[in-house]
Amino acid sequence: MKMFSISHKTAFVVDHCPYMAESCRQQVEFDMLTKNRPQGVIPLAPVSKSLWTCAVECSMEYCRILYDIYPTRKLVNFIVSDSEFHILNSWNQADQSTQELMAALAAVGPPNPHEDPECCSILHGLMAAVESLCKITEYQHEARTTLMDKADRVSNRGRIICITNAKSDTHVRMLEDYVQETIQEQNKLAISSDRLMQIQQCELVLIHTYPFGEETLVSDRPKKEEEQHANTSANYDVELLHHRDAHMEFIKSGDLHPAGSTSRDSGLKETVTLKWCTPRTNSVELHFCTGAYRISPVDVNSRPSSCLTNFLLNGRSVLLEQPRKSGSKVISHMLSSHGGEIFLHVLNCTRSTLEDPPSISEGCGGRVTDYRITDFGEFMRENRLTPFPDVQGSEVAGKVPLERAKRQLERHTRYWPMIISQTTIFNMQAVVPLASLIVKESLTEEDVLTCQKTIYNLVDMERKNDPLPISTVGTRGKGPKRDEQYRIMWNELETLVRTHMGSSERHQRVLDCVLACRSKPPEEEDRKKRGRKREDREDKGEKNGKDSESERSWQESERLKAALERDREELAEAEVIKDSPDSPEPLNKKPRLEVEDVQPAEKAKGPVSLLTMWTNRINTANSRKHQEFAGRVNSVNNKAELYQHLKDENGMDPHENGKAMR
């Protein structure tokens, strides 16, 4: 288990004793001569940093790089030691920021050179560091909670980086022994606490600081990273730090080791030089990328560095090429930023085992040419994902966003013909409003109205005998007759709406409307021509035995129909074939003259589905066997209000005053 490796916790212990106030004796010129400087001005004396300043700068630089490359899960606890210890932050992720640490360090200030050196010691800080390493982090706590019975598998390891002035080898050994002893003591205490963990492993890094010695500090860098140069076209290098895995292929291939080098253990050369290469790439290209690692520039504020990072932060990408043993070059990496973070992408540069596969058109379904590509594209856009904030307890309510996305996909695909010649309704612009609404989880009243309008519009088209985009694929001759076309169209629309009837009562109402409006059997067609009034009367007579609900909705729709008459006049010509050039030609361009044509016997089965006919028959039969329940007779949309008499007696709504009733 590597989840909590040594680098999960790093305790910095910086010596704040009086001798750290000493100058490092490295002078920094800060009054540089500039071009437009008047003659004869003597530059100011250079300043020199104290050992303390050097130590703080270097530990801050360590944190800067650490937080750039590992923004989470690699934690720092900063401790300062003088006559006592000062803990500047906690292991909490929220405390992990250089800004916070800088503020805390400013409050500590430089060491006081006049303090009694006898009272001051680095040991205070080391003890605090060991205690701190025993403290459980948020991540460890979370892991222990999730693992429950296996909680003991969560390990507790860490590193102490101590910046001090070691007086002698004996002094160093004393510090090591002290840390060792303190760990043993603290581990005993940790056994009996929930908030403490025993330290299983601790790496102690002692950094000795002394005047004249700048190198020891500056060269200290996180061990896990290595450096990499990006040589820009203008001949300057940008050195970047990142996780070493980004060069795995390079290391394994042996390209890192020049010919003749024998020892692999002598330490990897830590810097790989990659060259900025000219082919630009764009974000719409999907590269085959085997890893992506955050980077941090070594010299963050240098001109070349900020040039490169700004270029990347502005959304552009840089391809990098790598020299090979053979002398050839290969594009091996890509620098690119995502959300203000720069990543080094590792590109696959070996031969692919997937080369030259057969095209998808050679496989199953590859010969089909009229897929609804545009429609499915539209479907994909509607089903794009978007991030939602992580709210506690959302799992319980069944509102995990991804689960909702899956549910939406399920609803949207309940009826989804894949090819143009398999569908009529999805080739009709007139159906679009209904088709896009019916898949919704819930409908508003307005949605229902729009669906109904769509349906009436179709009724109107049928009345006018408008042509439909019915496929002729696989049929000989002119294809089906006009009324047969409408029968097919209504069947399909019913199928679509029926798949959603269970979603809500409003979905059901849309289905009711379809069932009520869809074209009547052929014999009715004739009657229709003889006048709507009579048809209505006959219709009522025919349906006499049926429940009042469907009757009501029929009447309702008739009423709406009249109201919408004018709108429809305009809509009628909006009929367009929507999708691909492969769509069949609209049929029967010449007006049909043989209206009186007698229908073949089978077609007389009419537009009502077998299920509907059967259900109607059963309902009729059943309704004759008993007297209808009074509630159902008086119901509105199959819902009857109870205790209506109470309302009459009290003149108030019983729901609102339930208690008063008793």
Binding site: M1, V28, E29, F30, M32, T34, P38, V47, S48, V56, I65, Y67, P71, A103, A106, P110, P111, L147, V154, V218, K252, S283, V284, L286, F288, S296, V300, N301, S305, T309, G339, E341, I342, V346, T350, T353, L354, D356, P357, S359, I360, C364, G365, G366, R367, V368, Y371, I373, R381, E382, R384, L385, T386, P387, F388, L402, L409, R411, T413, W416
Partner: protein, 518 residues
Amino acid sequence: LVSRPPAMPTVVLMDVSLSMTRPVQLDGTEEFQRKNLAVHGLTMLFEHMATNYRLEFTALVAFSSLWELMVPFTRDYNTLQEALNNLEDYDKTCLEPALQGVSNIVQQEWGSTCPCQVVLVTDGSLGIGRGSLRHSLSTIKHRSEDKKFPLPFPFPAKLYIMCIANAEELQNSDTLDNLEQLLSLNGGEGQIFTVEGPLKLIDQAYTPFHAVLRCGNLSSDVQVFPRPEPVIMDEEVDPAPRTILTDLEIVGFIEIGDISSPPVLSRHLVLPIAVNKDVDEMGTGTTDETEEENSANQMAGKSPNFCVLLHGSLKVEGMVALVQLGPEWYGMLYSQADSKKKSNLMMSLFEPGPEPLPWLGKVSQLGPTSDAKENPYGEDDSKSPFPLQPKSKRSYAQNVTVWIKPSGLQTDVQKILRNARKLPEKTQTFYKELNRLRKAALAFGFWDLLKGVADLLERECTLLPDTAHPDAAFQLSHAAQQLKLASTGDSQYAAFDHNITPMLTDFSGSGSSDRDRM
């Protein structure tokens, strides 16, 4: 970080030493040369692959005391078969150089990250004395760096050993011990088979991966090629191999620009397959069957398939489909075109985990856009909710102060000076830079610098030309005085969060143009 699941080319390493011509007696059958049995077994393997793994690359290497690449990596199983039938007999068995040869061939062709299967076919007599496997293994610990034993291979490899010998023969020698040692050198990846080997090998290593790809109620039967191998996450508390589901469910769609070249473990072709197509397990297809299969293929070609629809729309729209591979494991489907403009439906596997890509956030928190209060893509598709912004900015995206190199400090001082000379126009920038320096100097305990810069500003004040704006002198001496106060460490003036503000003078209004730009 992760054991990578592979695309899996195969190297067949065939023993052509003289001992392979020894007869083997199987119950109730006539005598065969071991070589004949080996060729027969490999023929079965090649036929199986030609039927089920047409896209797999295979190479044939023959070895005795020397080794030779008979057929480089190819998908042409006829060539492989032909070479197999025409193998000649040579001298003795020297396995080590042959394995080294395999290692070189694979690395040259596929690099060191592509996993491979090595099928070693031998009679189990692995040589005597120098050059024998026993000798190689006994000296393994005393090698110099450049003469290292070729195992473990530098690439992930499964070593399958087909040993053409019966159990009795193996029991009477140390062959099995040596071969097992070879396997353990390869990290235990692989298996040893005896005479019945080929069938088991086919079962073990060359079963095609079939799955159902779903998008709501739309679905298609597919073969995923190459076969996705189990993945082990080292970072988990309880690492167990994870295998992708045979029910691959699309959870939604994302623009290519938003998913932005994500790192993946492996790539696979997603090939639609016809249902109810009985694939002959042994692949011993006669001509008739092949014709039948062809016509079946033609039929399948003509019935609509969801993969083809999905591929077409992904290609046209420049999008990918996010697909769930298992619990907290996701991948993406997209259209991939090769140089010849042939294109295909591909699936890439992300690293297992709840948040494989930082710029998408937790995958379980991705939901339908219709749930959002307003369309995150904008009404005209001009916006995108991706990439997700991290909580804190990285050092290169904010104005950090680093003075480890003198140049860093010098640049910052110069910036202040440059602005000082353009007072009062640059009042705001001057104070902004001044405060940045002040904060860093306080944090680093670098009070001497504060004094130094104060001196510098005072000197600048004396050098102001007569034409300078009177406000410049006021601001410079005010700033210098404030820095001096801070350098005392007096808590009243040296507070980190305190900012030096411009001195209010009668002329202050003149800096407004600069202020507007800030």
